[in-house]
Symmetry: C2
Subunit: 205 residues, 2 copies
């Protein structure tokens, strides 16, 4: 049995999600760095394994290849406490996973990409992305009022999916200062995952 | 036991996905029309049930509310032939579901929205969305070479997820004429779902 390979970029929130799940569940893996800015996710070799040309992706052994951060998390977490087996609990987790990829990541992660990877100033962010990113953070702030975790009574992959880029949102010019529920939830996730607090979030605490 | 309610817009591909699954599995439901253009998904009443303010959404009885088309499909299809229980089969289905919401819908469905709902001419489409939409259709065309279904050896919710807006892509100014694998697969899906062929797709056959 081969050890799983995770192809990823350590700075990418989407890639961090997969690492958080693997580390939390103590799944053995080899991390294979992929520099997307240098085109390493678009080589013929990479595309033969992962036609979508994206990171993160995993090689699970026996020629089995899988891309899409949330699909990978779901696969790795199956049968664990991070993904309770109850059908309604899974439905509410899935609701957050799909919302994250459609209504959170394209705004918050993309603004961060422009600032962190492309070195654009905060003022150069696209107004429509900023507006939708703010709206996404406001929805989370509201939903986290009075409860500890997003989708269930315990920590699940829904929390990991949203935590990854929410924690890094200040690097995309988004403020967590004015959102106390989010700040406490980020700290709660960091604690469960055994992570040092993110300096950007501390700065805005 | 209350009959499930599906809140949706019959012209929306995302809403059609949920209807296709419910009809195919012969699940009883009441269709509740929601006109998003008139703000009916943003009323206090609707937001109290579905804070994300989106369609489709379902009321599954006992005060249980769920949004996100792909999360709903996954919930309704659990235990059926549309979602085989094997963990790797589910992972490959999930890979397509998340790809659909990130790399297909925001380009093809949004261009269609601009043309069909906002009555903009084809020439007014945003170039970057058109480019990514074409890329998504090219990937599907390539992946469907030599196989009948997207994610498994049988028809699954991955096919339904991608079928919904691919079938309607000509309404967003995208051409299926030059993509024979896609055309045949669309017809195959229509056949399984018992749908009349879409006139736009026939026109480009």
């Amino acid at each position: 049995m081969c050890t799983m390979k995770i192809y990823g970029d350590v700075l990418s929130g989407n890639c961090q999600k997969v690492r958080f799940v693997a580390d939390h569940l103590r799944l053995p893996y080899t991390w294979v760095p992929v520099d997307t800015l240098k085109g390493e996710s678009r080589t013929p070799d990479y595309l033969a394994k992962f036609p979508q040309g994206q990171v993160p992706a995993i090689e699970a052994g026996n020629g089995r290849f899988l891309a899409q951060s949330n699909a990978i998390m779901r696969y790795l977490a199956r049968g664990s406490r991070l993904l309770p087996d109850d059908s309604w609990a899974q439905a509410k987790i899935d609701e957050w996973l799909f919302w994250e990829q459609y209504s959170h990541e394209p705004y918050i992660a993309v603004c961060r990409f422009h600032m962190l990877y492309q070195h654009k100033p905060k003022e150069a962010r696209e107004a429509w992305r900023v507006e939708r990113g703010e709206k996404a953070l406001n929805l989370m702030e509201s939903e986290l009022g009075g409860r500890d975790w997003l989708a269930a009574s315990s920590f699940t992959i829904a929390d990991i999916a949203l935590f990854a880029y929410t924690r890094l949102a200040p690097e995309g010019g988004f403020d967590l200062q004015s959102r106390p529920n989010l700040r406490v939830w980020v700290a709660r996730c960091e604690n469960v995952l055994g992570l040092a607090p993110n300096p950007n979030v501390i700065a805005s605490r």
